[in-house]
Symmetry: C2
DNA sequence: TATTGTTATACTCTATAACTATA
DNA sequence: TATAGTTATAGAGTATAACAATA
């Protein structure tokens, strides 16, 4: 008697769900999906938001510092900054102490945009993380940082 | 007197670090980086591992079921399965009840490979999550799932 | 008419090499 | 000699449209 060919009704993802990497990736994709929708009105993708936010909180930051902080490669930042300059959100100014570098600064339009966008991000945060109690939210952020900070 | 142009010594990433999406992404990238190194000897990238692992635990699973479980699009799975067939790790068998579908099964070589790879993954898990106490590990996984499961 | 698997293709993201100007 | 910024380009990863076979 031949062995019957098995079929699958309910997919068992048990092993994958036991892995930190799998769960962290799924969670980040879920959050980023909502983020993408909410940031579309501002014309910002997640990385764009990160860049503008860092320039807002660090006026005069250089491309190199941005790349280091966000894990972006320099060639891939150039296009972003160019777009921001075309949209008149960012200005490149000569660095006061280093003739090779350019300091990045927000225009007043850029400041207004990122102020609104950060408010939206904070709101989204409250919703998405709203399935967790405030204590759980703090715990989650703390544990995540513990994982990725060396 | 002109306003001096500011420069940045220490980059302030405070706002970004308050966002769940940012932290989840950083954590998942950190884990995946180590995962990539450890899986290289098996010739598996993270998605490859997920696919093989699901086929191992769900013999006869169809492409469509795999795509749904992993959030992959069907056209992007085809190439992967083809590679696995060429490496003689996976076999496509006609589905017993649905002439359109193909059931996926591991060869004995595929079974051995994924058994070793899963052992390596569990080991890696113990190391990476080793910065956390066992209780913290359980908490982290539980909270992450709470975020991405609707 | 809808679904599975597939092909072809396009778009985005990320990565590498090399150039320039300044240090 | 090394670094900041840039250009050009290559490679992954991810997305959409359309088709044949089957339900």
């Amino acid at each position: 008697m031949a062995k019957p060919v098995p079929t699958v009704e309910q997919v068992d993802t048990g092993f994958l769900e036991s892995l930190l990497g799998y769960n962290a990736r799924r969670a980040s994709l879920a959050v980023i999906e909502v983020f993408l929708e909410r940031m579309a009105p501002y014309g910002l993708k997640p990385v764009d938001f990160s860049v503008l936010s860092l320039v807002a909180h660090n006026p005069g930051i250089t491309s190199r510092q941005l790349c280091a902080a966000l894990g972006i490669l320099p060639p891939n930042l150039v296009g972003m900054v160019n777009q921001f300059e075309k949209r008149e959100l960012i200005e490149r100014q000569p660095h006061p102490h280093d003739g090779r570098a350019m300091g990045l600064h927000l225009t007043s339009a850029g400041q207004k945009l990122i102020r609104d966008a950060e408010r939206t991000a904070a709101q989204l945060e409250a919703e998405v993380a709203g399935r967790l109690t405030p204590a759980e939210q703090r715990t989650l952020l703390r544990l995540l940082r513990k994982v990725y900070l060396k």
